[in-house]
Subunit: 461 residues, 2 copies
């Protein structure tokens, strides 16, 4: 194994400055998929990746969808295992912009007390991560001239906006995309020294509700008291979503929520997760979920309901004595086990409708749904990858859970009949979806080396 | 009386087109007092009024305050009653701008099914109203050369932003401003045919609360469940403010709320207020306040609590799975009887603090406070004005209540020891504080004529 991999790792080490320059070029493209004003930028990022992959000898193209394009590329060995690599090149919005210490789309290499980082929107989620795999292929090709596996790339441009085109695209391209195993790089390290292969992912149900009351904004003096205020209706609905024990009150919400198997619980207990540190780093101290659950359970194995945004009436400087005509909120649920997002969407809407008084009406907007995923770890690639990661990092790799939702793994299983191996190098303090997002250069460097080792190990498994 | 007033009324009728042009010039100045970006425009509106009043022979000036300037003018008869006229030249913000059918600061004369209107921000509240008095003086001066009363103008530029400079200004200028009676033109007709003299005004208490949770916006997948969401905390606090009977739950809130005297209730019952029509015109049907109260009581004689605005997290297009770092709301209370705004602010803050969990902190912002006012109607000017209004309008004038807050009346009483007579010509459908604000030309025209008749009647009372 050493004869094959050592020169590749050396090449990766030598080429790191150039790899960072390439990542910076991609980060400069503000590919915010949820904002129609950035449609052209999302397309530009896709073009950039197509050019990169073609330059590496892959047959790459931009496939149109009803939304943002899919970047697809094929190449690698004619024989051996066929892997599909998935990442996404779109990014989250950047507001509140005034909290960024530098331009979110002008990447900066910075020294921090925990090491060097590259700071920009998408540095960690997911441009930095997907480039670890691209750079591993580049180094392998530079040393060996050809890859040890057959490879398909599938890089999405709508992951941060609910992936509306993903399922139709996978359904329309089953044969072209089906591989032996998918590699997904959109998850994190367990800690700075311990890599993880994520085997449990929460699902996601996104809803937007708007309560309409009076036909127009009213003067709160002329009408206040007599006229129903939709903000009052909305806050009551949102307040009702949790009970005093931190549980979610939508009827049937916990019907399909399993308890964690004892062996998995024992493995998690052994990870030494420090809840005080996890919360302390973001200025908190008390786990906010269901009473009687550990913080790790709350984020890996328990479902949630969160208000992601809400707005009503006058929110500018000063004061306006307006009685607003409408009030709206974006609400999401993280799902686990066998919770059915479609059944829960229906239950949520019934829950809301039951609380809307005669003089108001409610409007719903569907912001996507995906069930939770639990990976099948019996595929030999899982053990091979675990050993390869253990070779690269200070501590042994572990099978872990993840609080975030990566619905693609579920779709690869249900549509393409393919298992997924989720490996990523992000850290909890990467501030993804927040101002000042960063990616550790250590994550980037070891991430590239990890993928080279995994390609080697999986090709021999 | 006829010999004095008839030629003035004729002059008003002839001069109406020019009066409308002058009003339009004032309406073109976007004097939004709550928005620092419009500070220069507020000043420009003050200069415009100073020039107008000087041109009419008053000694007018712009008095600096710590905020926007006060326009003060003096003139009129050396003998006879001394009246102080109050109006305000600042206006509300115009958002949501996309709901305006024309530029809010480009006044349009329009024909509507209910008659001609002038449409612009401030057309009714309060530029159109204050100009009815200026134009009455102009016509009187054109016909008679001098006014029948001694007159002081006090025109404010901060009424729509909580009047922060008003009390210090009144306190510093007691002697210059004290008159026999104040005339305040910032209220409405009871209906299109019935003028009102407002003798009860609700007070106002404005508060802004911000709940701070995590140190930064978090990813709702990585942290959701374990991290406290301040939007969840805020909605629970806001939802708790009302009970199931529509009452406000802040402890002690109703301690100083009197029942309406039987004779006043009988008078109000006689007005034939049509609650179905009042609510129906804004798309509502069910009085939303305390159960067992009439809609007229709810807006004239009962206190309220309203959410005027709230914001948290991501509120743009699409969806963002963010767990917000903070959530805030603007909340106001309309006060009646002897409710003490300072005592209630304290009670409200205690109510909020008691509901803030360990991992959050709350920040309060004071947006002003004024108690309710009940006028002393024994001054002979009240009966004189009632008769003068009855001469001008199709139906007899009535003493009425008002849901809105005009704290100036209370300050004139407490600081200058002066009673106030509140007379205005706005209509419920003027859409003040809302998009497409308008003022009926009938209100403007009869309003000018009404003031001429009132000047005549009061000078002889």
């Amino acid at each position: 194994m050493t004869a094959t991999i050592t020169p590749v790792l050396d090449q990766i080490d030598r080429d790191l400055p150039q790899a960072l320059e390439r990542l910076s070029a991609l980060l400069r493209i503000p590919s915010i998929s949820t904002d129609p004003a950035h449609t052209g930028d999302v397309d530009k990022a896709a073009d950039w990746l197509v050019a990169e992959l073609n330059a590496l000898g892959f047959s790459a193209r931009k496939d149109a969808t009803s939304g943002h394009p899919m970047v697809v590329a094929q190449g690698g060995a004619a024989e051996g295992p066929h892997l599909l690599f998935y990442g996404h090149y779109d990014v989250q919005p950047v507001d509140p912009l005034d909290l960024w210490e530098s331009d979110p789309f002008d990447p900066q290499i910075q020294d921090t007390p925990k090491g060097r980082v590259i700071r920009a929107r998408g540095a960690s989620d997911d441009k930095g991560q997907l480039m670890t795999f691209v750079e591993a292929c580049r180094a392998w090709l530079a040393v060996h001239g050809s890859l040890p596996v057959k490879l398909t790339f599938c890089l999405e441009g709508e992951e941060e906006s609910g992936s509306p085109s993903l399922v139709p695209y996978l359904e329309a391209n089953r044969d072209a995309l089906r591989a032996d195993l998918a590699l997904i790089c959109d998850t994190g390290l367990f800690d700075a020294q311990t890599p993880g292969i994520t085997t449990m992912l929460r699902g996601l149900l996104g809803e937007e509700i708007t309560i309409h009351g009076p036909a127009r904004d009213l003067h709160s003096g002329s009408f206040g008291g007599a006229a129903m205020n939709p903000a009052r209706v909305l806050t009551r609905i949102l307040a009702d979503l949790h009970d005093d024990q931190g549980g979610v009150t939508v009827p049937g919400f916990y019907d399909d929520v399993p308890e964690i198997p004892d062996e998995l619980r024992a493995q998690w207990d052994g990870l030494g997760f420090d809840a005080d540190d996890f919360l302390g780093r973001v200025g908190l101290s008390v786990p906010a979920g269901e009473k009687g659950r550990t913080a790790l359970e709350m984020i890996w194995a328990r479902p949630t309901c969160e208000i992601n945004g809400m707005i009503s009436g006058y929110t500018g400087a000063g004061f306006k004595t307006v009685l607003p005509a409408q009030a709206s909120a974006k609400v999401s649920f993280r799902l686990v086990g066998q919770q059915d997002p479609h059944k829960l969407r229906k239950a949520f809407r019934e829950f809301v409708r039951a609380r809307v008084p005669a003089d108001c009406r409610v409007e719903f907007h569907d912001h996507g749904a995906s069930p939770a995923s639990v990976m099948e770890t019996s595929h030999p690639a899982f053990e091979a990858a675990r050993a390869a990661l253990t070779d690269e990092w200070p501590k042994p790799a572990a099978f872990v859970g993840a609080g975030g939702s990566i619905p693609i793994a579920g779709y690869f299983k249900s549509i393409l009949g393919m298992d997924s191996m989720l490996i990523g190098f992000a850290k909890d303090d990467d501030q993804i979806h927040s101002p000042n997002e960063k990616y550790d250069l250590d994550s980037f460097h070891r991430g590239i080396r990890s993928w080279a080792r995994i390609l080697d190990a999986v090709s021999k498994a």
